[in-house]
């Protein structure tokens, strides 16, 4: 799949792995080579010549050399060339301090509001900013809950996330911590945000209470439910199974929390939602 951006184009090999970067101005192709944790280690040109190398300390501070660079460094995620901050999908991470800038949306599960990879970066990653992940077993430790088994696609989120962060919002689309370990759902598949993902399916999602909690907030139930549905579809597509879970999304600058449950027939019912201060 070729994903277009305002600057370079990027080519995915797998849904979560960018392997090729194309300079839109010069047409120069750069291939990205990753280590087991997904960090970009080597850059090569179209002839196989090494054009750049990067190493990282345990918490992600890079040391790079060569003539070619990529913003997709530590954990294969977007790093701001201005600030050195890394956008790990749900939160912004500062490798210089080894801390996230905002609290883990899964704090109640991880008990680690700001640390990266449970402060055990040699054995654990945190590429989504949500939950500690062992890159060597490729599984989150929060087994059975509604958490992706692999990082979300980065590029579609970058520009919006950067814009959101720079406008004062710590994250744009945090999500999901499971309360119950029960796994009762079926796999769901939904399209990403790429323009060329034509063969996507939409999860069957129903809503119970919720609209009455929007009175006085200025939010419209249709708008909120659409945002929740979109987020569930994206998250469910990355999950091996769903069960009982929570989520949180931002609609017109207001955080909406929702509670959902996967029915035996695979339908996800959002039992309630409300604006959370």
């Amino acid at each position: 799949m070729l994903l277009r951006s305002l600057r370079p184009n990027y080519v995915y090999d797998q849904p979560e792995m960018i392997v090729e970067q194309i300079n839109n101005t010069t047409g120069t192709i750069t291939y990205l080579h990753h280590d087991q944790a997904g960090s970009t280690r080597l850059l090569t040109g179209s002839t196989g010549t090494v054009t750049g190398k990067c190493t990282y300390n345990a918490y992600g501070t890079p040391t790079c050399e060569g003539t070619t660079t990529t913003p997709l460094g530590f954990d294969g995620q977007y790093t701001s060339s201005d600030t050195g901050l890394i956008y790990l999908r749900n939160r912004v991470y500062d490798p210089a301090t080894a801390q996230f800038l905002t609290v883990d949306p899964l704090e109640m599960v991880t008990r680690a509001p700001y640390t990266y990879g449970e402060d055990n970066p040699l054995n654990r990653g945190d590429a989504t900013g949500l939950s500690s992940w062992n890159p060597f077993s490729e599984s989150f430790w929060t087994e059975g809950n509604f958490i992706s088994e692999s990082p979300l696609n980065p590029i579609p989120y970058y520009e919006a996330e950067v814009e959101s962060y720079e406008s004062g919002c710590g994250y744009i689309a945090s999500v999901t911590h499971g309360l119950e370990g029960a796994v009762a759902g079926t796999a769901l598949f939904a399209g990403g945000e790429g323009e060329d993902e034509a063969d996507s399916a939409v999860a069957d999602i129903t809503f119970g209470h919720g609209a009455r909690h929007l009175i006085g907030t200025g939010l419209d139930s249709g708008e909120v439910e659409s945002a929740i549905q979109s987020q569930i579809e994206q998250s469910a597509a990355k999950a091996s199974a769903t069960g009982s879970f929570w989520g949180r999304t931002v609609v017109d600058g207001q955080t909406v929390e929702y509670r959902a449950y996967t029915l035996p027939n695979g339908t996800i019912n959002v039992g309630t939602y409300y604006v959370s201060p």
């Binding site: 209470h209 019912n269 039992g271 309630t272 409300y274």
Partner: protein
Amino acid sequence: MSLPDDHGGHRQDFRPLSDLEAQLLAVLLGTNFSGRDALAEQVAAASVREIDHNGSLEFAPADGTPAEVARRVPVEAELDDNDGVTIHVLLHVVDGLLKELEVYRDDSGRIQRVLDPGDLRLMVL
């Protein structure tokens, strides 16, 4: 589309808490969390009305001391319905004041049993 939130097509008048409702709230407020004491004071003077078929309650606007809660839902509970589906009981607090006691099933179906306060499994997040 959300389920309709009215109760039989018309709004009830506010009324005092029933004994069962008061017991449910007592259990919810029996655990320790920030703002609990202020909420207990508000409950003592609360008037409510049912707002859906599950018996969810809307609290009448009041002038009690605002509770300093950390979350909109500072305490909640769950219990199993007769068919095993989980029932959730959420206490909503807005601007420090009791707003709603929400009751719903995971599948948004109609609740089949009486909510026995002794069966509640409390959660403070």
